[in-house]
C-alpha cells in the first residue's frame, strides 16, 4: 500500500480554490492544539479571524501587520517566479533596515520630500547589495542559491548585532538600540492615532508594479519562461543569466524596502528584533498566494489577520500567542501539499511495477 503521485492537471477553476482548501484543512489540523488548552476551537477561530476585523483599531492593525509581509511576500514571489530560490529575504530586510537607519540619521534638517525617498532608496540598494553575492555565484558559477542566501541571513543578523553593540549602542541606557532617525525621515501616518504608515501604500504600489512587470511586459514573459524551465528558455534565445540576476536583485531590493519601511514606519531606531522572521513569513505568503501578486496581497492580509488574531485569542482566551505561528507554519506545509493538485493527482494503492 502506498500513495502515488501522478501527473494530471486540474481544471483551471479549481486552482484559486486550493489555497482556501488549505486554510480550512489547517484549521482542522490545528484544532487539537486549541483543545489541548481547553478552548473550543470554533471560539478560538472566531477570535482569530472575525474579532480583529470587528473593531476599527484592530482592523487597521491588521493592515499594519500585513505591511512588511506584503513586501517580503512580493520579494520572494518575484524571485521564485524567475526560478531563483531566494531564501535570503530576512537578511536582505536587515541590510535594508541598517542602510535606512544610516541614511535616516543623516537627514537632520533635510525636508521630508527628500529624506523619505532617500531612506527608501537606501533600503532598496542595501537589499540589492546583500542579494548580489549569492546571485552572482548562481549566475557565474552555477552555485545553488538556497544555502548561500540562507546563510547570509545569519551574517546580516550578526552584522546588525555588531553595530548595535558597537558604534550604535545607546550611550546612556547601554541598550543595543541605534539613535532615532531624523524626524523628517519618519514615514507619515496614513490615519491619525493608528500605526498605519506610508509603508502600506508603498507596498501596495510595489505589488501593482510587480504585477504589471510579470504579467504585461516582455521581461516578465522572459522571467516566467526561465522560471518554468531554464533550458527551454535558453533554447528560445532568452538570456537566462541576465534574467535570473535581475529577478534576484529586484527581489533583494524589495526585501530591503521592507526593512526600511519597518524602520521608518514603526520603530524609528534599529533594534535586533526589527523582524520576527518576516523574510521567512514572506515564503509562506508567496506560497499561499500561489506565486501571483494578487494572491500575495490577499495572503499577506490573511497572515496579518492571523498575527493580529493570535494576540486577540491570547488576551481573550489565554491560548499562548504562539498558536498563530503554529497555524502559519502548518498553513505553509498544507498549502504546499494541496497545490500539488494543480498539476498532479494522488492515487492510493499498490505501486505499479
Amino acid at each position: 500500500m502506498g500513495i502515488r503521485v501522478e501527473r494530471a492537471p486540474a481544471p483551471l477553476w479549481i486552482r484559486p480554490l486550493l489555497p482556501l482548501l488549505a486554510v480550512l484543512l489547517t484549521f482542522v489540523i490545528t484544532a487539537g492544539l486549541v483543545m489541548a488548552v481547553g478552548v473550543n476551537p470554533f471560539t478560538a477561530y472566531y477570535y482569530f479571524i472575525v474579532e480583529p476585523l470587528a473593531g476599527r483599531v484592530s482592523a487597521i492593525e491588521v493592515l499594519v501587520k500585513a505591511t512588511p509581509l506584503l513586501l517580503t511576500g512580493a520579494a520572494v514571489t518575484f524571485a521564485f517566479v524567475g526560478g531563483y530560490w531566494n531564501i535570503g529575504a530576512e537578511g536582505q530586510l536587515y541590510a535594508g533596515a541598517t542602510a535606512a537607519t544610516a541614511v535616516g540619521l543623516l537627514m537632520e534638517g533635510v525636508p521630508s520630500w527628500l529624506a523619505i525617498p532617500a531612506v527608501v532608496l537606501a533600503g532598496f540598494v542595501a537589499g540589492v547589495l546583500w542579494a548580489l553575492p549569492p546571485a552572482l555565484m548562481k549566475v557565474k558559477l552555477a552555485i545553488d542559491e538556497v544555502v548561500t542566501t540562507l546563510l547570509l541571513n545569519s551574517v546580516a543578523l550578526f552584522g546588525v548585532s555588531a553595530l548595535l553593540n558597537g558604534p550604535w549602542r545607546n550611550p546612556i541606557s547601554q541598550w543595543p538600540q541605534s539613535p532615532e532617525i531624523a524626524a523628517s525621515a519618519i514615514f507619515p501616518r496614513l490615519i491619525p492615532r493608528t500605526r498605519l504608515h506610508l509603508g502600506f501604500l508603498l507596498a501596495i504600489a510595489i505589488i501593482l508594479v510587480l504585477w504589471f512587470v510579470i504579467n504585461r511586459t516582455a521581461f516578465g514573459l522572459r522571467m516566467r519562461a526561465v522560471g518554468l524551465g531554464p533550458r527551454a528558455a535558453r533554447f528560445a534565445g532568452i538570456r537566462v543569466e541576465r534574467t535570473v540576476l535581475t529577478a534576484a536583485l529586484v527581489s533583494g531590493g524589495i526585501a530591503g524596502v521592507a526593512g526600511a519601511s519597518q524602520l521608518a514606519g514603526i520603530h524609528y531606531s534599529l533594534i535586533e528584533a526589527i523582524s520576527p522572521g518576516y523574510g521567512y513569513t514572506g515564503i509562506i505568503v508567496a506560497t499561499l498566494g500561489t506565486l501571483n501578486m494578487v494572491g500575495v496581497a490577499l495572503a499577506a492580509l490573511f497572515i496579518g489577520l492571523i498575527d493580529t488574531g493570535a494576540q486577540t485569542v491570547s488576551r481573550a482566551l489565554g491560548v499562548p500567542v504562539y498558536l498563530g505561528d503554529v497555524i502559519q507554519a502548518t498553513l505553509l506545509l498544507v498549502t504546499l501539499s494541496v497545490l500539488l493538485f494543480q498539476f498532479y493527482r494522488i492515487r492510493w494503492g499498490r505501486r505499479a511495477g
Binding site: W85, I143, A329, L336
Partner: protein, 315 residues
C-alpha cells in the same frame, strides 16, 4: 608562570571546544546522511529546537512523576520527536515530491512554533526559567593531571566523537544501507533499476538524520544547560548546513569542521569574558562566511550529491 597560565587556557579552550562541537556534530552528521540520500533538510534548525524542548519537557515531567532516569526519558522523547519530524519531512519531499527547501523551512517554522507553544502549555508564563538536574561530566581516564579537564566531558560528547563519527563513516561507506543511501542520492533511476527502493532508503535516511538533529538539540537542554529557553539553538542548525558543505558531505570531515567552529566559538567566548573589546559577531559569522567563500572558490568543482534537491517520481 605565564606558560602555566597559557597551558590552563589552552586546556580549558580544548575542553570547551569539544562541548560546543557536540550538538553540531550530531546534527551535521544527521544532515550529511540526509543530503547524501538526495534530500536537503532545512528543518534542521527547528528539529534541533524541538529536540531540546521535548527532551527537556519530558525530563521535567519525569522528575515530577518521580521516575528514575529522567534524563533518559528526555533523550528518548527527543529522539521520538525527531523521528516524527523526519517522517513528516520524508512524506512531504519523498512521497509527495514537494519543493525540499520550502518544505524544510516549513518544518523549521512548525517545529519552532510547536516548541514555543508547548513550552507555554507545560511551564506557563513563569518568570523563572524551569531547570532540571542535567547529565554529569566524567572522565574515562580518571583524574589526569593538567590535561584532566579535556577528558571531563558528557557521555553524549564521548558518544559523538568515539562512536557516532566512526560508525556513521562505516555505515556510509561500508554497509549496504550506506551504499543504498549514496545510490539513491546520486542516481535514483539507476538505484531503482537495480532493485533498491528509493522511497524506503530516503525515508530511512531522512528519519535517521532528523533523530540525530533532535539529539543534538537535546544535548543543549539535557546536558550543557539543564534548562530550555527560546534562544537556545540560535542558528546552530544553519551552522550545520554550512558545515555539511564545508565537510563536503563526509562524516569525518564534518567532525573537523565541528571542532574548528567549536574552537572559534569557545575562543570568542573566552576572549569576551576577558573583557576584550572585539566585534565578537565577526567570529560568529565566520563559519557562514568561510563556507560561502569555499563555495565561491571551489565553484563548479563542489560535488553535490547527484540528485540533490531533486524529487524522484516514477513516470
Amino acid at each position: 608562570m605565564s606558560g602555566e597560565l597559557l597551558l590552563t587556557f589552552a586546556v580549558g579552550l580544548l575542553a570547551a571546544t569539544l562541548r560546543v562541537a557536540t550538538p553540531l556534530l550530531y546534527a551535521t552528521i544527521g544532515e550529511v546522511l540526509t543530503e547524501r540520500a538526495g534530500i536537503l533538510n532545512l528543518g534542521i534548525e527547528g528539529i534541533m529546537f524541538l529536540g531540546a524542548f521535548v527532551g527537556f519537557a519530558a525530563a521535567a515531567q519525569a522528575v515530577e512523576a518521580g521516575l528514575a532516569g529522567h534524563l533518559w526519558v528526555g533523550l528518548a522523547a527527543a529522539v521520538l520527536a525527531g523521528v516524527l519530524m523526519g517522517l513528516l519531512m520524508a512524506f512531504l519531499t519523498v512521497t509527495l515530491g514537494l519543493n525540499q527547501h520550502v518544505s524544510g523551512l516549513g518544518i523549521t517554522l512548525l517545529a519552532t512554533a510547536l516548541s514555543l507553544y508547548g513550552f507555554r502549555l507545560v511551564f506557563g508564563e513563569s518568570s523563572v526559567l524551569p531547570s532540571i538536574e542535567p547529565f554529569g561530566q566524567f572522565s574515562v581516564f580518571g583524574d589526569l593531571p593538567v590535561l584532566g579537564p579535556i577528558f571531563r566531558q558528557y557521555g553524549l560528547t564521548y558518544l559523538a566523537f568515539l562512536v557516532l563519527v566512526p560508525l556513521s563513516w562505516w555505515v556510509l561507506y561500508r554497509s549496504t544501507f550506506g551504499l543504498n543511501i549514496r545510490a539513491v542520492g546520486e542516481n535514483p533511476e539507476a538505484a531503482d533499476a537495480a532493485g533498491v527502493s528509493v522511497f524506503r532508503v530516503r525515508y530511512a535516511a531522512v528519519i535517521l538524520g532528523a533523530a540525530l538533529m533532535a539529539v543534538g538539540g537535546a544535548f543543549l537542554s539535557l546536558a550543557q544547560l539543564g534548562a530550555f529557553s527560546p534562544g537556545l539553538i540560535a542558528g546552530r542548525g544553519w551552522v550545520c548546513i554550512a558545515l555539511v558543505i564545508f565537510a563536503r558531505w563526509d562524516p569525518v570531515r564534518a567532525m573537523w569542521g565541528a571542532l574548528l567552529f567549536g574552537g572559534v566559538f569557545a575562543l570568542q567566548l573566552r576572549l569576551q569574558t576577558l573583557g576584550l573589546e572585539l566585534p565578537f559577531e565577526a567570529f560568529l559569522a565566520l563559519p557562514y562566511l568561510v563556507t560561502i567563500g569555499v563555495l565561491a572558490l571551489a565553484g563548479r568543482q563542489v560535488e553535490y550529491p547527484g540528485a540533490y534537491l531533486k524529487p524522484y517520481r516514477r513516470e
